[in-house]
């Protein structure tokens, strides 16, 4: 079985009832509880740079399908200079996702190369890799203890990519709440150096799925952080397959 876990804005709801002792089982359960047929929301991105300069972007996000074979389209709606720019992500169960970007001003789509996954996602503190679904089987997990985040008791789990997995990170620390299996914090490391910290907050139950409505990414290297807020979030809407193709991307 090919189990995948979503990270930043896409690492969402986890149920809280199951009890797991094994680190890998905890992560798998966390993923299973966030499963949905589709997802739609309006996101607001607030990027605060080192000089405290704040830039805002808004997008609409639609996802069809669940882990392993999902497709997603993200369309920027603000500010005006980026309006209409869109990103199509096609996830595959056996390989890395394909990503295309549409630029309406020159009416061109372009493929985002795999090699660019470690680069920052359009000026935010997310990287393209952070947007990918993570296959549970491509990582080794180890329970690193217990901890409390925002007052909630969590399992602290260390994950390391297997040799076959190409990643910019050499290890990650995941904090998963014991009560609802929602991942509330992830720290990504390269060797010993912290590259990114993702903090999940405002956790609410939406359409039966526990979902963090706010995700904050901190980049200690650049001393900047990005907050993604999810609004008008809905699950399991009847979305059409045809709206998740390159032609649909070009239609706008």
């Amino acid at each position: 079985m090919n189990k995948r876990v979503r990270i930043p804005g896409l690492w969402l709801c986890l149920a809280s009832v199951a009890v797991a002792q094994d680190a890998r089982q905890i992560v798998a359960e966390s993923q299973a509880r966030s499963r949905s047929k589709s997802q739609q929301y309006e996101g607001t991105l607030e990027v605060t740079g080192a000089s405290n300069k704040i830039s805002l972007k808004r997008w609409t996000y639609q996802r069809l399908g669940s882990y392993g074979a999902s497709k997603a389209i993200l369309r920027f709606t603000a500010p005006p200079e980026v309006k209409g720019v869109a990103l199509l992500i096609v996830n595959h169960p056996d390989r890395a996702s394909d990503q295309w970007m549409w630029t309406p001003a020159i009416e061109r789509d372009r493929r985002i190369a795999l090699q660019d996954r470690s680069t920052r996602f359009f000026g935010t503190d997310f990287s393209f890799e952070d947007l990918e679904e993570r296959d549970v089987n491509q990582f080794d997990y180890k329970l690193a203890g217990e901890d409390a985040i925002d007052g909630a008791a969590c399992w602290k789990i260390e994950s390391k990519p297997k040799e076959s997995k190409s990643s910019q990170y050499t290890s990650s620390l995941l904090w998963i709440r014991k009560d609802n299996y929602v991942a509330v914090q992830i720290e990504n490391y390269n060797k010993e150096k912290l590259i990114r910290r993702l903090h999940y907050a405002d956790i609410e139950k939406v359409d039966g799925i526990w979902t963090p409505r706010s995700i904050e990414v901190y980049d200690p290297g650049r001393q900047s952080h990005t907050i993604l807020k999810l609004e008008k979030l809905q699950y399991n809407l009847p979305l059409k397959e045809d709206d998740f193709t390159l032609e649909a991307l070009r239609r706008g």
Partner: protein
């Protein structure tokens, strides 16, 4: 050293002017060598710097000549596991209408991954603009400029930069300013970065990239990845380190470098004769001094060392002065050479500063030094052999000036035969140079004999002009041929060079005129660039049909040309509808059946090669040539060889259908437009501009304008030849001045005796003037005659190595006639000073001279 100080220095101080004139030959030779090479190297260095700075941490670059390739190649490259990062690049040099800015190098990159290779260090502006490709990519008018460019033009974030794009003049917005240094200093700072996909549209590239820059993963071997990529992509692609682009530029500008070498070598060679002449006379004059030294116990070796030491010091000082003058020449020429190479080869580079190469400088100094020492070797040897007893006998030295012998004439004859034999053998290009060198050697060996002959012929004329002075002047030449033979040789070689260059220039112009008349006969040329060699911009094929629909146009032929490497040389490919071309411009073949060759080429079964390609690359009619294309090797026979001046490296003509198929490229560089009978070119030009100028960048050139353009380029190119001619004339003048100064000094006693026995000052003056005119005349006659031969050998060198063009032999009578008054006037003017110094000098001192 002590001997130099005690013996040589007083002599040099006493004859400072002569010494300076002697050194001037070396100064000039070294200056020309350093100046032309430094200017060339500065342009090359600027190009390499631009390549290096733009390359950033790029380890390999993938290209397909100038044609570019489909976008999907990028996916194939990125899929190779050993490739860490591979990014697409488009480069184009575009004009901006900002005042005094000229051209800007636009680097089109994909910001998503490009920062892994290049550091866009921003001076001001929101770092997020570059960090955030979204804004940069969403706004195709986004531009990052360099700090230097921004300062020069008073630009800031949000400023507009007007640029000439394929869609007409467009305004771009400055969204980032790079800090000085590194990438920002490429192309002399006139660099701007934009999105690669926006660049595709702006420059009419379709869905193609110019090249891919890549870096390999840690632990992978760059060579191994290069081999894998070469295998993966096939022979149509070049996978090379960024430095290879500099080598290609060097290869393309080879002819220019060769020209610089020939000029400076000639200047130094002629300078050598001036030095030889001076030292030969100095030895004769200083015989008494040498005799005393020998009588006091100085060895032959010591005597030889004194003269060689003097020549070494002269060579060193001359070389150093030549370095200074050369750098000044380079400063004046660098900008000119940069624009010339850009216009002639279509590779623009903005060279604003000169770069001095220590190795070149050392080589130049060594060259000057060695030339000087070699020139002084024979006189030094002759000084060492002086018999002390004879040397101390006053007046004896004047009897030693004869020296013609039969052995020399025989040697000259043998060398001349060898020269012609080499010229007739066509197998190796080096033989063409050998033939010329042998001919020069033969001419030099014969110079004293011939000079004597001509002087004898001139004697009655001089006597007829002024019975006393004329006879004295002629006799001076006849009695001391060794004194003048060096100067006559220098003058002869200089004038022969002038004649050869003049002949080459004239033949080149005639051939180009013929080619323009036969091949470039369309009424109008529609191009996306003012420069016909600039290939950054291209039209879509569909524009041809739109042009054809304009009233007054009878036929439109699309031409695509690009530089592609064939047989190790970057040559120009010209792809057009060959059947249509031959209907309008039936260029007679140099080789091949005129009907069959065009039929085969039009059918895509063969290609036509330019004459210079065939000669330079050793290709013959029927030879199959391998042409690398993105679809693999295209193997086609040469069906015909034609005269074509499209490029100095050679050109290949093929049918455009073939090009479209193999390069998957239907863009057009230029449309050849033929008008319907009775249509006015001005009116049709107006209609074309009216129809298209609002939509796209285009220039409509009339046939006359294109001819003017090509002739302007030719003029610019031959500008270097004119510099060569000027150098040759200058060296010749130096030779005359030097000889006269030496001659007068040498004859001070003789002229003093003349004055003492009642010779009038005016008679002395006229004697000197007439002798000068006679030396000029002898040099002229021999120079113009040897020039005729030199032209023949130069045509061989041009055909077999430099340009691969068989130019017609046409003796440049006009230049030769123009040289007559120039050289005689120069000879006369050169004589004024020495003549005055004789008549105004102390008679007692003159009589005591020696």
């Amino acid at each position: 050293m002590i001997l130099l100080k005690l013996i040589s220095w007083p002599y040099v101080r006493k004859h400072l002017l002569r010494w300076l004139l002697t050194v001037a030959g070396i100064v000039l030779g070294v200056a020309v060598f350093v100046g032309m090479h430094t200017a060339n190297q500065s342009v090359l260095y600027a190009f390499r710097q631009t390549v290096d700075r733009i390359a950033g941490t790029t380890q390999l670059q993938i290209s397909a000549g100038e044609t570019g390739f489909d976008e999907n190649v990028l996916d194939r490259v990125q899929a190779l596991p050993e490739v860490r990062v591979a990014v697409p690049v488009i480069e184009a040099v575009v004009g901006t209408t900002l005042q005094d800015q000229g051209n800007v190098l636009i680097l089109g990159v994909d910001m998503t991954g490009d920062r892994s290779l290049r550091d866009y260090d921003l001076e001001s502006g929101d770092q997020a603009i570059v960090d955030d490709p979204l804004v940069f990519l969403a706004q195709p008018d986004s531009l990052i400029v360099t700090d230097a460019f921004a300062r020069e033009n008073g630009l800031g974030i949000g400023s507009q930069v007007p640029m000439r794009t394929m869609e007409g003049e467009k305004r771009f917005t400055v969204r980032g300013i790079m800090k000085s240094g590194g990438l920002a200093s490429a192309f002399g700072g006139n660099l701007a970065v934009m999105d690669v996909y926006a660049a595709q549209k702006v420059f009419g590239r379709g869905r193609r990239f110019d090249r891919i820059d890549l870096a390999v993963k840690e632990g992978s071997s760059v060579d191994e990845v290069r081999r894998k990529l070469a295998t993966l992509l096939g022979a149509g692609f070049q996978v090379e380190a960024p430095s290879a682009r500099g080598q290609q530029f060097e290869s393309i500008s080879r002819i220019y470098s060769l020209t610089a070498d020939i000029t400076s070598a000639f200047a130094l060679f002629i300078g050598m004769f001036i030095i030889y002449n001076t030292f030969q006379i100095a030895v004769t004059q200083r015989r008494a001094e040498i005799g005393i030294l020998r009588a006091l116990g100085a060895t032959r070796r010591q005597i030889r060392t004194i003269f060689l030491g003097e020549s070494a010091v002269a060579g060193l000082l001359g070389s150093l002065a030549g370095l200074g003058l050369g750098i000044a020449i380079a400063r004046a020429m660098t900008g000119y050479i940069g624009s010339l190479l850009g216009e002639v080869y279509g590779i623009a580079e903005r060279a604003t500063e000169i770069s001095t190469d220590p190795k070149l400088m050392l080589f130049a100094v060594a060259l000057g030094l060695i030339t000087s020492v070699v020139a002084a070797f024979l006189p030094a040897r002759s000084a060492a052999r002086v018999d002390p007893v004879q040397a101390l006998q006053k007046g004896k030295y004047q009897q030693l000036s004869a020296g013609e012998n039969r052995a020399r004439r025989r040697a000259a004859f043998v060398l001349a035969v060898l020269a012609f034999a080499c010229a007739l053998l066509k197998r190796y290009w080096v033989l063409a140079y050998a033939a010329d060198a042998l001919a020069v050697a033969a001419a030099l060996l014969l110079t004293p004999t011939l000079a004597l002959l001509v002087a004898r012929m001139l004697r009655p004329i001089l006597r007829w002009l002024r019975p006393v002075e004329g006879t004295l002047a002629a006799d001076s030449l006849l009695q001391a041929p060794r004194r003048t033979s060096g100067a006559v040789a220098a003058l002869m070689l200089s004038l022969a060079l002038v004649v050869a260059l003049g002949g080459l220039t004239r033949a080149s112009y005639d051939s180009i005129f013929t080619w323009l008349r036969v091949a470039l006969n369309p009424d109008l040329f529609v191009t996306p660039s003012e420069s016909l060699t600039e290939r950054s911009f291209r039209f879509p094929e569909s524009m041809g049909l739109a042009l054809r629909a304009i009233p007054g146009i009878a036929e439109v032929q699309g031409v695509r040309d690009a530089r592609i490497e064939v047989r190790g040389a970057p040559i120009i490919f010209v792809a057009t509808d060959v059947a249509a071309l031959v209907r309008r411009a039936n260029v007679p073949p140099v080789a091949g059946d005129p009907n069959r060759m065009y039929q085969e080429t039009a059918a895509g079964r063969a290609v036509l090669a330019s004459e210079n390609f065939a000669l330079l690359r050793g290709a013959k009619l029927g030879d199959v040539i391998d042409i690398p294309s993105p679809r693999g090797i295209l193997r086609l026979p040469i069906a015909g060889i034609v005269t074509d001046y499209s490029d100095q490296e050679g050109s290949i003509l093929m049918d455009r259908s073939l090009f479209k198929r193999y390069w998957n490229d239907d863009t057009v560089n230029v449309f050849r437009v033929y008008l319907a009978p009775g249509a006015s070119d001005a009116e049709v030009k107006r209609r074309i501009l009216e129809k298209f100028s609002a939509q796209r960048r285009l220039f409509v050139l009339t046939n006359g304008e294109v001819r003017k353009y090509i002739l302007r380029l030719t003029d610019q190119w031959f500008g270097i030849t004119y510099v060569q001619i000027a150098v040759a004339v200058l060296v010749a003048v130096l030779g005359i001045v030097n000889t006269l100064t030496v001659s007068i000094t040498d004859r001070r006693r003789e002229l003093g005796v003349l004055q003492a026995v009642g010779g009038l000052r005016n008679q002395i003056r006229r004697t000197v003037w007439l002798e000068a005119l006679a030396i000029g005349a002898v040099g002229l006659i021999l120079g113009l005659a040897f020039g005729a031969l030199q032209l023949y050998f130069s045509l061989k060198i041009v055909a077999e190595d430099i340009a691969g063009l068989r130019l017609a032999y046409e003796y440049p009578y006009q230049i030769s006639l123009a040289l007559l008054p120039v050289i005689l006037a120069v000879a006369f003017i050169s004589a004024l000073g020495p003549a005055e110094s004789v008549v105004r000098g102390s008679l007692v001192e003159a009589l005591e001279y020696e």
